[in-house]
């Protein structure tokens, strides 16, 4: 088969794409590669001294740094708390909103609103105020005779409370599920009805397989977001108490910007990268067993 020659029209496409390509090269690929180089050095951003030290940063991380393992634990727990909860929550709300009721548009907007705020500082501060000892949540539970809970002072509650902020922002996943649910052919449900399948069976045998590519996508995206958490931990708890919310992103920030150990911080960022990459590869590896694409024979 003869190879098709590129036409002038194809070259034009590259011209139009160039702002994105240049941006990606400069703002993502270059820092990405530079950070790997830094991770092999003792780069100090204040004095700008830099010496190649091989794998020393990685060795210290895994053999001597107690806080690294505390951070790793906090980050993985945060991911375990937030990702499944957020996916279940967004899917359930999407199913409820996938009905043609009156005023459904307003409801969809209301549920999506928290996601518009994203990882903003204002929302993090609001969360701190809601859960403080004299905050709204403690006022409500005190009505039921329960004593004050120190949500951000007690290491047992700090991480779950912080996770609830992330779960609350389920809007973007919800919108995707809503779109996916709209694409499921009604004929499948009609056929299932004729066959006498229950609503629960229809949900697990039709709905879930049909929207599985979106579930797959949201799991990967939410995991990446959770593993990179920084803002809420920085603003609300600053990693405490007793480092129960000291995420890897926060440790990376402190090492690099407050302790002037940018090489060490870069090594941490590469550990996060390997963690995310490993998780993503496992997900892709297992996807053929549970993700169903419409074009598959």
């Amino acid at each position: 088969m003869k190879k098709r020659k590129y036409s002038k029209r194809d070259n034009k496409a590259f011209l139009y794409l160039s702002p994105w390509i240049i941006g990606m090269l400069l703002l993502q690929i270059f820092p990405f590669l530079t950070s790997f180089y830094y991770s092999l050095t003792d780069y100090n951003p204040v004095s700008r001294d830099i010496n190649f030290i091989g794998l020393q940063n990685y060795i210290q991380l895994f053999t001597r740094d107690v806080e690294f393992f505390q951070s790793l634990r906090a980050t993985i727990l945060y991911t375990v708390y937030t990702v499944p909860a957020k996916i279940i929550m967004s899917l359930l709300i999407a199913i409820l909103l996938n009905k043609g009721r009156k005023g459904i548009g307003i409801l969809r907007t209301i549920y999506y609103l928290p996601s518009l705020f994203g990882g903003s500082v204002a929302v993090a501060i609001l969360w701190r105020v809601i859960f403080m000892d004299q905050g709204l949540v403690n006022s409500v539970i005190s009505m039921f005779g329960i004593g004050t809970i120190s949500f951000f002072g007690d290491p047992r509650f700090a991480l779950p409370t912080l996770s609830s902020l992330e779960v609350w922002q389920f809007g973007s996943s919800m919108v995707m599920y809503l779109a996916a649910l709209k694409q499921v052919p009604q004929s499948l449900y009609e056929a299932a009805d004729i066959d006498g399948a229950s609503k629960i069976a229809q949900f697990f045998k039709i709905t879930i397989p049909q929207i599985s590519p979106i579930i797959f996508f949201t799991i990967i995206m939410q995991t990446i977001v959770a593993l990179q958490n920084f803002t809420s931990a920085f603003i609300i708890t600053n990693g405490g108490p007793v480092r129960s919310t000291y995420m890897l992103g926060l440790k990376l920030f402190n090492d690099g910007f407050n302790f002037f150990r940018m090489g060490y911080a870069s090594a941490t960022s590469w550990v996060i990268f390997i963690l995310v990459l490993g998780f993503t590869l496992i997900m892709f590896g297992t996807s053929r067993f549970w993700v169903h694409y419409g074009d598959k024979a």
Partner: protein, 455 residues
């Protein structure tokens, strides 16, 4: 199918790239190519000074500081007055709260875009000097004659030159609720030893089961207890200027055991209760309600802390001592420094502004107490004459001055060592580590810090 998976994998990889954008991006633009040369520049003592460019030319300086509303307003007013006197110099203010201030400076140092005039955290002064980002003020026209020479030693960071200007006088303080202290029979305003706290703690709990002798939140108490006790034990900073660890593991354990007892014997309020307030003692309802005999803090925070509990009569406590001590440990320190950036293109104009800032009577009047008690006798007289001097704050400084301690500014006050000590304090206060385990971990972490920084 396979193609689709590959495409999705590629897209996920691109998203992951964003993870690294925050790590060294700003610095990356220049450092990889110029590091050899810039390091030489920073180390060099005979670097060529920028030429004086004031000949009618318009000069712009940048001045960064952190603080609250009153500090911002007063500093902006001084800038305005200076600009009126020096029409060829404009000053761009860059002010914020303290949150993230040091981290922002780090990125500015990395990209050589730091402001010309910089307010510096007390503990980071010697660190910045060591990293070569502060201008040697002895080589500028800044007039130090109004300053007390012995107090200025602190601004030399162990060298023969002045690298920064102390913005005020202060030190550790025990802020005492005199009403509760009297009622519970606790003479904490008299000279005393650390060990006395346990008996007094028991007395306070007996008097009022809802009250405690101390409010000791981790960020305020770790420096007060660990660093002061270490200075009293050894007569040295925990990590000296030559990067030697001066405290043994057994001595760390002794200090940590003292902290364990404070919480276990209910001398201090529970750590989990105090944790959400951090350094913001004034937000603690128990403080406002007068349920602590004393709170650990700094002279500069007295005004804010006492204002939160207007119904309480406050006094200054004396600072605790060890019976057998190398020295008293307590010292008068500035709440922060102001320095000139080493790579400023206009260090002489920056020094001119700082002269106006510290040595001009009108500036002193405008600034008042926004950076604690002014560091010069000349300024203190003016403030006193205006009736602005807070007697409680002044007395706190006088108490600090009465002890023969020394500043441990240097590696001990670097952000990393502070975090190590704070972390150990928190583990003991919450009971998640024994004093022995915390001591072993602290020694290991400080040794790692020394290994990474001492070359």
């Amino acid at each position: 199918m396979r193609k689709k998976n590959l495409l999705a994998l590629g897209l996920a990889a691109v998203l992951l790239g964003g993870l690294f954008a925050g790590c060294g991006n700003g610095a990356a633009t220049e450092t990889t190519t110029t590091n050899d040369t810039t390091t030489e520049e920073a180390d060099s003592t005979d670097q060529e000074e920028p030429a004086d460019t004031t000949n009618g030319e318009q000069i712009n300086l940048r001045f960064s500081w952190w603080g609250g509303e009153s500090r911002h307003e007063a500093t902006l007013a001084v800038i305005e007055a200076f600009e009126a006197e020096h029409p060829n110099i404009t000053i761009t203010p860059e002010f914020s709260s303290i949150d993230g201030y040091a981290a922002r400076l780090t990125t500015q140092f990395a990209s050589r875009t730091a402001p010309d005039i910089i307010q510096v955290e007390t503990g980071l002064g010697s660190e910045y000097q060591r990293q070569g980002v502060l201008k040697n003020l002895s080589e500028t026209d800044f007039d130090f004659s109004n300053f007390d020479e012995s107090f200025l030693e602190i601004a030399k960071f162990g060298t023969d030159s002045y690298w920064a200007i102390p913005t005020g006088m202060g030190g550790s303080a025990l802020i005492v609720n005199q009403d509760l202290a009297d009622a519970a029979g606790v003479p904490i305003t008299e000279p005393h030893e650390w060990e006395d706290w346990f008996e007094w703690g028991r007395l306070v709990r007996e008097y009022d089961p809802e009250a405690y002798l101390l409010s000791a939140s981790t960020p305020l108490a770790y420096a007060f207890i660990i660093r002061a006790m270490a200075r009293q034990m050894t007569g040295e900073a925990i990590v000296d200027r030559d990067f030697n660890l001066t405290l043994t593991e057994a001595q760390f354990e002794e200090i940590f055991d003292f902290i364990r007892r404070l919480y276990e014997e209910e001398v201090a309020a529970p750590a989990s209760y105090l944790a959400p307030f951090g350094e913001q003692l004034q937000q603690d309802p128990n403080w406002v309600a007068g349920r602590y005999v004393a709170a650990m803090g700094y002279s500069s925070s007295i005004e804010v802390f006492t204002a939160a509990a207007p119904d309480v009569t406050f006094a200054n406590g004396r600072l605790p001592l060890l019976p057998d001590r190398a020295n008293d440990g307590w010292v008068t320190e500035p709440p922060q420094f102001i320095g000139i950036y080493y790579y400023s293109e206009h260090p002489e104009e920056a020094a001119k502004f700082l002269n106006f800032f510290f040595n001009n009577a009108e500036s002193v009047r405008t600034l008042g107490l926004v950076r604690s008690i002014p560091p010069t006798a000349f300024a203190q007289e003016i403030i006193e004459g205006e009736g602005l001097l807070d007697p409680l704050m002044m007395e706190s400084v006088e108490i600090s001055l009465s002890y023969n301690g020394f500043s441990d500014g240097g590696p001990t006050t670097s952000a990393e060592v502070r975090a190590i000590l704070e972390s150990a304090f928190e583990d003991i206060a919450f009971g998640t580590l024994t004093p022995a385990d915390a001591a072993a971990r602290t020694v290991q972490q400080i040794e790692d810090f020394i290994a990474a920084n001492s070359n």
